[in-house]
Amino acid sequence: MTPVATPFFFYLLSGLAIAGGLLVITRRNAVHSALALIVTLLAVAGLYLMLYAPFVAGVQIIVYAGGIMVLFLFVIMLVSLERTIKERQFNRMWPVGLFAACALLALFMSVFAKGRALFPDRVPPPPEASNTQQIGVMLYGNYMFAFEIASLLLLVAILGAVIMAKKRI
């Protein structure tokens, strides 16, 4: 399927992602922040689709927007929101955050400026039909060890959560 109106959708999705990101950090109400974050995640999933990565886009929707954000909301809903809205933030971490953001921005700018030297000029996108297959072959072939390590890490995290949550095992 050939793409339609590519620049329009790129700017629309990028704009949505940025607007959602700004809303996440400016809303006082934590539930509104979480909803804005969902908008950002979905917009990023759309950008993955435009980069010929349908599998990553689908996984992004399932894991982040469908799974993790539901758990976020689950926790936030049980927090007393009235107090967080009234109280002023008391820690002074914003200089650190500003520094980190500036460092990231500088990194992105340098990559953007030197990009032509660092990366090949144009990588032909893999045919859409075999995208998922290629990811499978990569994960279970070339990067088998890293994949297994990652799953082991997740298993440890699950076990830790169970041990901390349960009084008697």
């Binding site: 909803l35 969902i38 689950f74």
Partner: protein, 439 residues
């Protein structure tokens, strides 16, 4: 515009693949209208069937046998006062039912009613369906939280816990079916002689894999496919919050659960989303395990004669429904009070009979004249009919479950989800992989 309208007519791929936006839009509108009508029909059927299960009559007043009841309900809900609670979070309260509805209807873009009768064929079709339908829980959680009231919040918490837990078992059952698309092993009947190939996530590709392997995945590697299907069939009831897993809206404990504070049009949007989601997950089950649009017994009862007989089924179904309507007309009381209802039911039966005769005429015309357009129409009708028929069986099962089983307790529900369904589906996945490689 006329060119793009005409150019698609001869093709045998989906509008999305043919890159034809006009036909994609037409398909979207047809599916949207069809699903909305199906939801109304389901509403009537559910009330009627539940009533008969409990030896009641159900709706009888609005129209003959209550046939106009859904329309009356819809009009009532539309003109009802729209209440937004004063202490609620207005924006979230307003957007929650819309999110649920969008999630429920978006998945229909990849539902394969036939090899070319789908809006688009995505190469991540099944992943897209699971992902987008998992977004429906967001609408539920937001509605429960925004109402700023106790019962909706508890309902929303229950619902999110339930949907997240059952999604795991559901996903593993789906993975074992996707695995079968790549494993061309002998299966139950030992008919497939293909070597193992690459699998697919595309909805149309999954049905075509079943066609090539000449076995529905329900019967493949018996009983592995059957177990995975049963896991999915249980998980999909929990996913759509239906009885016996309808704890988020358990009326004896939580009045109406997450939509307690909703009324009028917004409430009806929740109902529409719930039924649309039920049809969508049934469509996933039909596609993965029941051969999608394939007719029953394609190898055992093969040949042009059997093809012709099976092609007659859509028309015969409508004729049968018309016969039931005419039977109802004859059995109507003869008193003059019932004259309008009798005429109405007869007219309804006549419309059904007309559709049935038209469908039969197309099939017989195709058989006699062997005209290209008629042949293609017959094939398309047959595909869509078998798909919709299989989904309709699931919809009836939903009603049947609701009438038969009492509601689970919440801890029982969680226990079944995590300690029974999850290990079984994991085991089935592993055994399917082993068997598929060995056979």
């Amino acid at each position: 515009m006329l060119d793009s309208f005409m150019s698609y007519l001869g093709s045998s791929v989906t509008p999305g693949e043919a890159n034809n936006q006009l036909w994609a839009l037409i398909y979207v509108l047809i599916i949207f209208a069809g699903v909305s009508v199906a939801v109304m029909a389901m509403n009537w059927l559910e009330r009627k069937a539940l009533a008969h299960f409990q030896v009641r009559l159900g709706p009888m007043r609005v129209g003959p046998h209550g046939l106009l009841q859904p329309i009356a309900d819809a009009v009532k809900l539309l003109i009802k006062e729209d209440i937004i609670p004063a202490e609620s979070d207005k924006f979230v309260f307003w957007i929650a039912p819309i999110i649920g509805l969008l999630a429920a209807f978006t998945v229909y873009t990849v539902v394969p009613f036939g090899p070319s009768q789908a809006v688009s064929d995505m190469n991540i079709g099944i992943l897209f369906m699971l992902g987008v339908s998992s977004l429906a829980v967001l609408g539920v959680v937001m509605a429960g939280w925004a109402s700023n009231s106790h019962y909706p919040l508890i309902g929303a918490l229950r619902s999110s816990a339930q949907m997240v837990s059952y999604e795991v078992a559901m996903g593993l059952a789906v993975v074992s079916a996707i695995l079968m698309t790549s494993l061309h092993g002998a299966g139950l009947y030992g008919v497939s002689k293909l070597s193992d190939g690459t699998g697919t996530l595309s909805m149309i590709g999954i049905v075509q894999a079943q066609q090539e392997q000449q076995v529905w995945f329900l019967f493949k590697f018996f009983p592995l496919g059957l177990i995975a299907f049963v896991i999915f069939a249980i998980a999909m009831i929990a996913e759509t919050n239906r009885a016996p897993f309808d704890l988020p809206e358990a009326e004896s404990e939580l009045t109406a659960g997450f939509h307690t504070e909703y009324s009028g049009l917004r409430w009806s949007l929740f109902m529409l989303a719930e039924y649309a989601a039920m049809i969508a997950v049934s469509a996933i089950a039909v596609t993965l395990w029941l051969g999608g649009w394939l007719r029953p017994f394609p190898t055992w009862l093969s040949g042009p004669a059997w093809d012709f007989i099976f092609a007659l089924f859509p028309g015969l179904t409508f004729v049968g429904l018309a016969a039931i309507a005419f039977l109802g007309t004859v059995r109507m009381p003869k008193h003059s009070y019932f004259r309008v209802q009798t005429i109405g039911l007869a007219a309804f039966g006549a419309v059904l009979a007309l559709i049935g005769v038209l469908l039969l005429g197309i099939v017989i015309g195709a058989k006699v004249s062997d005209h290209d357009i008629l042949n293609r129409t017959t094939e398309g009708l047959s595909n869509v009919f078998w798909f919709v028929f299989k989904v309709a069986v699931f919809m009836y099962l939903y009603i049947w479950y609701r009438a038969t089983w009492p509601r689970y307790r919440f801890d029982q529900l969680m226990k079944v989800g995590w300690k029974v369904m999850l290990p079984i589906s994991l085991g089935v996945l592993i055994v399917t992989a082993i068997v598929g490689v060995l056979l």
